[in-house]
């Protein structure tokens, strides 16, 4: 029992609980006087600021609700903006992808125990604020009388609900997730009730790429309702199973799935590959089996603690074989696997240990090989999805695709560059520094144009690099230079004492880096790293300039050129900004959560 009372008070020895004094709850008038009008200057500032805010809100409302705004352009073309020209009869594939995403989200919410209780009275205040804002909008916006009445009625309803909630019992709470589900249900229900994007136009004037007549609500109300049910059901099932599954393993599996799912969705579901089974059985599977078996055996032997110098020699031989394979014609997958095996062999002494550790290392190799073989096979398989244009994805899905691949390539590359730049070996340092400073000195758009226009010209005969792949590599190189600098900042924050302590217990440089330095450095670097992730996500909009059909291109160049929606640029741009903002804002929130979580260990 500690000196100042135990955690559980015992009868007869009740610890005195000292609580800080509670701030007195001010009535509204005094609160206003204290916070908004405490002095003459502050009163003036309050009034001026209020007028400015009012003017901005009025201007914005005037823009949004102006009758000449063509919001139909956005609503009718939602499909175009999300998936560009993906064939409508294959749309179930898109919905399957969305469902997988929602299932993963629900399971993550379960496993990471996201969600908190909100006091009903606190919620009431926010509902009331919403109602008041609604009333304000009703008065300020240039509505028709009819619309004003509807807005007034809805706002009054919201206000009434808020006032009703205010009478809830003091301790009553509601789960934040219940609120999210409630809001989503309302949104889904509104699809059935409100015909968003109602639009009719002369069918024969419609280019093929246009959305078909009708409303967004008609085509999406059923799928969205099913999605909502799937998400809620997954969450409920997950909740029931949660206590029977070890949390740590579940988190690891989920993280891996989050990483693999996009690849599986793109190459299996969305792209619908036309696998040539005869070729797969005769070539791809044998290559995998040979590398898996030989590789695991080699690595299992190399990770013996007493292998010694001969292990390094063997690793170097494999490395030379890997680079040598570029001199003779050979399947690319064999070259990649050879070089990867060499890397695994070189790292083997770092991860050597007892039988269990060695088996785990060999298994890691097998899994990575399986993944790579599958991915390369999938990429090389032609798609059955028949789309006009070069690539089967476009719009928002292309934005997500490029951002995802850029990040999974540039993260490892950035870490390696940062390590090389802080290395004691002059060659690595020089190469990394040169690369980073060179890339950082060039505008991104230059790099993109270079990769889209020039690189295909430099490629040797017979080698073919799709423009999108080339551009993604350009993005990844650019992002990796910035990520490297962020990681380097983290590396420098690891104190000299940590290095010395790791050295003093006999760790090799690579062990020190993997177990001591990098975990601490990456933790420190989370805020700038997430900043870079957000920047990368937004920079995908530069695809517009090199003429790839990303979200911005569709919104800015395609939709406003449709005969029905001439000059709807501003509406579309506002919509696109909202999409970008929602995602960037959520990333930023997630980063704050992550910071709090990993900060737990350090006091």
């Amino acid at each position: 029992m500690s000196e100042y009372g135990a955690d559980t008070p015992t009868i007869g020895d009740v610890p005195r609980i000292v609580t800080p004094p509670v701030e007195p709850h001010l009535p509204p008038r005094q609160w206003l006087a204290k916070n908004l009008f405490p002095s003459k200057l502050n009163t003036l500032l309050t009034i001026v600021a209020s007028l400015v805010i009012l003017a901005i809100v009025r201007g914005l409302l005037g823009f949004i609700f102006n009758p000449i705004r063509q919001w139909n352009a956005t609503a009718v073309n939602l499909r175009l903006m999300m998936t560009h020209a993906y064939p409508a009869d294959q749309y179930v594939r898109v919905w399957v992808s969305v469902a997988v995403f929602l299932v993963l989200t629900s399971l993550s919410l379960v496993v990471w125990r996201v969600g908190f209780r909100i006091l009903l009275r606190k919620l009431a205040k926010q509902v009331i604020a919403g109602g008041v804002f609604g009333l304000l909008v009703s008065v300020l916006a240039p509505f028709s009388t009819n619309a004003t009445l509807i807005w007034l009625a809805v706002s009054a309803g919201v206000l009434a609900i808020g006032l009703g909630l205010l009478r809830a019992p003091e301790e009553a709470t509601i789960s934040s997730l219940t609120l999210v589900v409630g809001a989503s249900s309302l949104a889904a229900a509104s699809l059935w009730l409100i015909p968003y994007g109602r639009h009719s136009f002369v069918p024969d004037r419609t280019p093929r790429i246009l959305a078909e007549p009708g409303t967004v609500a008609i085509t999406t109300k059923l799928p969205w309702t099913i999605m909502l049910v799937i998400a809620v059901a997954t969450y409920a099932v997950g909740r029931m199973l949660r206590d029977r599954i070890p949390t740590k393993q579940a988190q690891t599996v989920l993280l891996l799935t989050w990483f693999l799912a996009p690849l599986a969705l793109i190459y299996l579901v969305l792209r619908d590959p036309d696998f040539d089974m005869a070729h797969v059985v005769s070539t791809d599977i044998p290559i995998f089996l040979v590398f898996a078996a030989l590789g695991s055996a080699t690595l299992f032997w190399l990770t013996r603690p007493d292998t010694g110098e001969i292990g390094r020699v063997i690793a170097m031989v494999i490395l030379f074989l890997g680079f040598g394979s570029f001199l003779t014609p050979m399947r690319m997958v064999i070259r990649i696997l050879l070089i990867l095996l060499a890397m695994f062999s070189l790292a083997a002494p770092t991860f050597s240990g007892d039988r269990q550790t060695r088996r785990r290392y060999a298994t890691t190799w097998t899994v990575v090989t399986l993944f790579l073989c599958w991915l390369i096979t999938a990429i090389n398989t032609p798609s059955t999805v028949d789309v006009p244009g070069e690539f089967f994805m476009g719009g928002f899905s292309l934005t997500l695709l490029v951002a995802f691949f850029t990040l999974i390539i540039s993260f490892p590359l950035g870490v390696v560059l940062a390590l090389a730049r802080t290395s004691t070996m002059p060659v690595f340092r020089l190469l990394a520094t040169t690369f980073i400073e060179f890339v950082r000195g060039i505008p991104l758009i230059t790099i993109l144009i270079f990769f889209s226009v020039m690189v295909p010209l430099f490629l040797p005969d017979g080698m073919d690099l799709p423009e999108l792949t080339a551009v993604t590599i350009g993005y990844a190189l650019f992002a990796s230079a910035y990520l490297a600098e962020n990681v380097r900042g983290g590396l420098q924050s690891v104190t000299r004492g940590q290095h010395e302590a790791a050295e003093a217990v006999g760790m090799t440089t690579s062990q020190k880096t993997v177990f001591i330095v990098l975990p601490q450095a990456l933790r420190v670097a989370i805020p700038p790293l997430v900043g870079q992730v957000i920047a990368t996500f937004k920079e995908t909009s530069l695809l517009y300039i090199i003429g790839l059909y990303d979200l911005l291109f569709v919104a800015k160049a395609l939709v406003p050129n449709q005969t029905e929606f001439m000059g709807s640029t501003r509406e579309n741009l506002l919509f696109v900004s909202v999409i970008y903002w929602i995602i960037a804002y959520n990333l930023s929130k997630a980063s704050q959560r992550l910071e709090r979580r990993v900060g737990l260990g350090e006091r």
């Binding site: 050597s352 240990g353 007892d354 104190t495 302590a501 003093a504 217990v505 177990f515 260990g601 006091r603």
Partner: protein, 268 residues
């Protein structure tokens, strides 16, 4: 770790430190005329000493006298530029394998603890045995628990270092060093960063370690510890060894004027 078993230690009283005869013991650390410069400043000016197996040597001296630099040279955290250092028969040169060998046999405890803040206490202790000594994980964790018991904090194994007091952290640091089963332990001012009430718990652990027969080299300002535990005291100033002797000789009858001055200042 059998020779450090808690029960065995309390039974037999070993002879007083200075009465032990270590003349036949093997040489563990041999330093010959080590010199070390930081830029133009010479930190060590020809330090020579031999430390026998099981011997406990305390290094005293005013700040800036080169004590820490010397002790850090012995496991190559600092690089000496002239002279020879031989640790348990292995000479420290630029050969990385020798350095790794010496480091895995020499445990080091730092003034600032330098625990790994992102790892739990148990993992702090078991990490190096698993990856450097290649021990099976279960065995290493069992050993970690036993060592934490030895230093008196078995119940803290699942906490993070940041949640412990300074004295507890330093004891974890000692356990971490012992987990590598070193032949020699180096202590670089282990109690200088601690609050006064925590110094004793760390010194007690060190005392027990000395009694169990560990070869130890301790840089410290704790005169009580030096008097009670040391076989020999080495007094340094300005990068040179000024005087060497038993605690008895050193504290009652020092020969050098500089030593007398130092003692009069700290014992005043």
């Amino acid at each position: 770790m059998n020779d450090m078993d808690t029960d065995a230690r309390t039974d037999a009283e070993p002879p007083a430190r200075s009465e032990r005869d270590l003349s036949n013991a093997a040489d563990m650390i041999v330093c010959e005329e080590i010199c070390k410069w930081y830029g133009d400043f010479q930190a060590l000016e020809g330090v020579s000493a031999t430390i026998k197996e099981q011997e406990v040597v305390v290094v005293l001296g005013p700040s800036g006298s080169g004590k820490s630099t010397w002790i850090r040279c012995i496991n190559r955290l600092e690089q000496h530029q002239e002279g020879r250092i031989v640790v348990d028969g292995v000479e420290l040169t630029n050969d990385l394998r020798n350095i790794e060998k010496v480091r895995s046999e020499v445990g080091m405890v730092f003034q600032q603890f330098n625990l790994f803040p992102h790892l739990k206490v148990r993992d702090n202790v078991s990490l190096a045995p698993i990856w450097v000594r290649k021990k099976p994980k279960a065995e290493a964790e069992e050993q970690a628990q036993a060592l934490l018991e030895l230093v008196g904090i078995p119940e803290q194994a699942d906490k993070f270092p940041g949640q412990l007091s300074g004295g507890q952290q330093q004891r974890v640091a000692i356990a971490r060093a012992l987990a590598m089963e070193p032949k020699i332990m180096l202590f670089d001012e282990p109690t200088s960063a601690l609050d006064p009430e925590m110094i004793k718990e760390v010194l007690d652990v060190m005392k027990n370690l000395a009694l169990s027969g560990m070869t130890m080299m301790v840089v410290t300002h704790e005169m009580g510890f030096a008097k009670e535990v040391a076989d020999r005291i080495i007094f340094m100033e300005e990068g040179q060894i000024v005087e060497v002797g038993t605690p008895e000789h050193f504290f009652t009858n020092p020969t050098e004027d500089r030593t007398k001055l130092f003692l009069s200042q700290i014992l005043a």
